[in-house]
């Protein structure tokens, strides 16, 4: 079972990564993550929003209400400069972890 710390870490990385590409509202963000990971990562509403609010409180992302062309109001999230600074060490840490796990599983399977 994946620990909550690891799950939170991967979720933060996923959210910051998609927001680095473009500003998104919550539903679109969840869809984008699911599509880009080919369904491997899926955020339900219950998992996504507490995470977004926490990241917003930390100043990593900023949400603002915007009205789309069809007149619907949505809260759109953007990555902040603090979030961008956070993203590169997060990528490095997770890259190292995945490399280490890949090495480890190769050894144990040999």
């Amino acid at each position: 079972m994946i620990g909550s710390g690891i799950k939170r870490g991967t979720a933060e990385l996923a959210i910051l990564s998609v927001l680095e590409e473009s500003p998104l509202h919550g539903y679109e963000m969840a869809r984008r993550i699911e599509q880009q990971t080919k369904g491997a990562l899926r955020f339900t509403l219950a998992a996504l929003y507490p995470m977004l609010y926490r990241m917003e409180q930390r100043g990593w992302i900023r949400g603002a209400w915007e009205t789309s062309s069809n007149g619907r109001r949505r809260r759109c999230y953007r990555i902040t400069s603090v979030g961008k600074k956070k993203l590169s060490p997060l990528r490095k840490e997770w890259g190292e972890l995945f490399d280490a796990l890949r090495l480890l599983t190769k050894v144990t399977h040999a």
């Binding site: 509202h25 919550g26 539903y27 679109e28 969840a30 869809r31 339900t44 509403l45 219950a46 996504l48 929003y49 507490p50 995470m51 609010y53 926490r54 409180q57 930390r58 209400w65 619907r72 109001r73 949505r74 809260r75």
Partner: protein, 221 residues
């Protein structure tokens, strides 16, 4: 199509958040569920199945409400404490100490003859006389930062609290580490220092802080 806002409001229950914040969260979650529902419908699911699948996005609404409240308050608590207690308290302490330093440099050093009631030291009286202003400054800054009454009181009395902590550690070190003869032989003298430097200033600080301990009318509305 279901009324998603009503559904979310009903299921989310009480959120420990400001009214505007709560309204925005409900609006946002309702938008998400509506998008999800529309997507399911576009994929050919019936209304009831699409509604069911949308609602299945949240297994436990109470848990979600709790997580949202915690997430919203996580950083807020730290920032709020810093703004409403530590910053006003430290400004208060700095003002009090800088004023004492100025008096010592200009009028003269405060001597401990005061405790014998021999001489009323002008420096000490001038310092003590300014303490209500310092207390008012600390409590005012705390109230402006949205501090609760307890924070405002603590910020107002901060110099006395700080001096009490300092005297406590001096006493501990003098008694148990240094085994200081003066303190061991004259514990009463040492204890009496607390009166002019902690108790009296605390009373003076409190006088200044009192007007700012009342809850502002704007918050009562």
């Amino acid at each position: 199509m279901p009324d998603w806002r009503a559904l979310v409001t009903e299921r989310l229950g009480v959120l420990d958040l400001h009214r505007v914040q709560r309204h925005e969260i409900i609006e946002e979650l309702a938008c998400h569920l509506e998008d999800f529902y529309r997507c399911q419908r576009a994929q050919g699911f019936s209304e009831s199945v699409a509604t069911e699948r949308a609602l299945a996005e949240v297994a436990d609404w109470q848990e979600l409400a709790h997580k949202i409240s915690v997430a919203q308050h996580e950083e807020e608590n730290v920032n709020s404490r810093t703004k409403s207690f530590w910053l006003p308290g430290l400004v208060n302490l700095a003002a009090s100490m800088v004023w004492l330093m100025i008096l010592q440099l200009t009028i003269g050093h405060v001597r401990m003859q005061w405790v014998h009631n021999h001489v009323l030291i002008a420096t000490y009286v001038a310092w003590l006389g300014a303490q209500p202003l310092c207390g008012a400054l600390g409590a005012y800054m705390s109230r402006r930062a949205g501090g609760q009454r307890r924070s405002r009181l603590a910020a107002g009395l901060f110099p006395s609290i700080a001096l009490l902590v300092v005297f406590f550690w001096i006493a501990v070190i003098a008694l148990f580490v240094e085994r200081n003869h003066f303190v061991l032989d004259h514990p009463l003298y040492f204890t009496m220092v607390v009166f002019p430097w902690v108790i009296l200033p605390a009373a003076a600080l409190l006088v200044g802080a009192l007007p700012f301990l009342k809850t502002p009318k704007i918050q009562e509305a």
